[in-house]
Symmetry: C2
Subunit: 336 residues, 2 copies
DNA sequence: GACGGTGCTTTCATCGATACAACGTCTCTA
DNA sequence: TAGAGACGTTGTATCGATGAAAGCACCGTC
């Protein structure tokens, strides 16, 4: 284990000088710098990030806490964030909670947050009261649907608006029995409820009643549940001529089920997803979807976090707010 | 900032006793333990992971270094690893290199590896000579195709065998002009070359020549390139009756292109992918694919890493080896 | 020759948790 | 009653880098 003091001895200087060279601080004579660099090279020295971090209180890393890593939405999100962070010279680490309360609590625990200079958190289980008693040192930006206390930065997509647009499109193109896969019967503040709210609003706007039999709840938001939902409806003899799925993965499952039932999309049944994943353009038929402003979200989140990190400790917290990013309906082949 | 010494003062003991309580070490009287726990609770104390890590040399985290996070394969892999690591009580962090040489080098640098107790690395740009001059303190397990010096643990899938099986299936079901999308004309040791090798072997086994015009190179392994490859072939007037894609994403693009060309799968053209992603079962048609043993790989990698971590520093390195996990062809609707 | 300034380098305390060795107290045995 | 051993606790050095402040040359100026 070669330490800074070893480099210093080899170069015939003090550790402070080595530190100055490493951190590019001024006030080191050119030849001294050369000697130090040579010693570093010779000994193969590398800074001990842990020691540095203990001393400075900074880690040089930012964290991203997500429920899952394999759903297309989170996969794209983490990739986007990572690429963006990289381009502004930051190290980004992704971790997964599995969507459990216990691990979400741990992820936002004081001790855990301190591992990073800043953290981006997407919670799905915790609610405002869980967050209320948190004392933060670490800059945090929240992402996602769960409401957070107003003193925190929070970026969310326009779940209600996006769903309303999607549902309205289905209703205005002569579909009369629009299923929502991944909807909720009760109205809380999670993703499913918000998207269902938009679905209800679209019906209300057009003076149409919502048939609760067309609101299908799911256990997960993955492919198989979308498939199962459509199959179950069909077996139960429920008539429908459009399906709005609250995620693209559900929509993929729904498309597959409709194909198995020999129902043509979009002629017999229209389908719209949510997330506008890159793969939507390659499905058969190409999937219409709500684009929640993915790029804008990633950029905004990093921007807010960067600002928090800069102003950390100054007590300057004027900018906290929940920002809602506009969504946009992208129509492809699965709709008329 | 509440420190251990604050807890100690409040509880009227020394920091060592607090440390013993926190780390569940024996030799603390029951009532002392109670007082310490009460003090911890009262002050809201949380261990400073950085300081602990500096002292012990352990971080409690293991790292996963991947080229991308949004390709279905890596997304599933990271999710699997994370879930498995969690179930054996370890904290897992994922980072992305973007597939650049520079960032891959940084990721396996001595200083960077020390951030973790152990690291799982999937490289795509570096070769054996880059790795040759590395001195590791940190336990590392390599994943993926690039060959690594024999002193390291390395888990890879059976790229050649899987591709051979896939190609053989296509050839033995009366396809005579099998395209490989994502193939390579020259033979190196990267993923594309290995999978092309299997493709060539299958031809050789049956005494058939390989038409280099059917070996299509790609820039990335994502959807759009699969689409483009098939479209280009068609526009060039190349005749083919089967497509083997070296990743599932490419295959999705290929399926989409074939649909646009009004070619029926599998009647006119058969398609096989590679990776056996969960979404394959929901594509139209359901995609036949090579299952590379994803679960086995994740389990094996963590197991090897765990062993490395345990034996770290003991100089006990007998177990290094390249392990190849068996692959298996999963036939669905895109093949006859 | 004394003085002040500048440019470079060193000294030393510090960050917070851990582990070794030592210590005092108590109990048990010879 | 001395000696050994177990038990619980404490003092202190340590991990490796950092930063404030002090020290030391060296130069030009009056």
């Amino acid at each position: 284990m070669v330490r800074m003091v070893d480099v210093a001895r080899t170069a015939g200087v003090s550790t402070m000088t080595v530190s100055n060279v490493i951190n590019g601080r001024p006030g080191v004579a050119a030849d001294t710098r050369m000697r130090v660099l040579a010693a570093i090279d010779e000994l193969g020295y590398q800074v001990n990030a842990t020691a540095r971090s203990l001393r400075t209180g900074r880690t040089g890393a930012i964290g991203v806490v997500l429920p899952e890593l394999d759903s297309p939405y989170y996969a794209h999100l983490s990739n986007r964030l990572s690429a963006a962070a990289q381009s502004c010279g930051r190290h980004l680490l992704v971790e997964r909670t599995g969507g459990t309360r216990e691990r979400e609590l741990e992820a936002i625990s004081f001790g855990h947050l301190r591992r990073y200079d800043g953290v981006i958190v997407n919670l799905v289980r915790l609610d405002s009261t869980d967050l209320a008693r948190l004392r933060f040192e670490s800059p945090v930006v929240f992402l996602g649907e769960s409401p957070v206390p107003s003193r925190f930065d929070h970026v969310m997509m326009d779940n209600v608006g996006g769903s309303r647009d999607a549902t309205r499109h289905l209703l205005s193109t002569c579909s009369r029995h629009v299923v929502i896969v991944g909807g909720r019967h009760d109205d809380t503040e999670d993703m499913a409820s918000l998207r269902t709210r938009g679905y209800r609003q679209a019906h209300g706007d057009l003076g149409l009643p919502v048939d609760e039999g067309l609101v299908v709840e799911v256990r997960t938001y993955a492919w198989d549940e979308g498939y199962r939902a459509v199959m179950d409806l069909h077996e139960a003899g429920v008539a429908f001529d459009a399906v709005f799925c609250v995620t693209d993965a559900l929509a993929m499952g729904a498309l597959r089920a409709l194909a198995d039932l020999d129902l043509h999309v979009p002629r017999d049944v229209q389908v719209i997803g949510f997330d506008n994943g890159e793969e939507d353009d390659f499905l058969i038929p190409r999937l219409s979807s709500v684009e929640p402003g993915n790029d804008a979200i990633a950029e905004l989140v990093l921007d807010l976090l960067e600002r928090r990190i800069r102003t950390a400790g100054t007590g300057d917290l004027r900018s906290q707010a929940t920002t809602t990013v506009n969504s946009r309906l992208v129509l492809r082949e699965s709709t008329r």
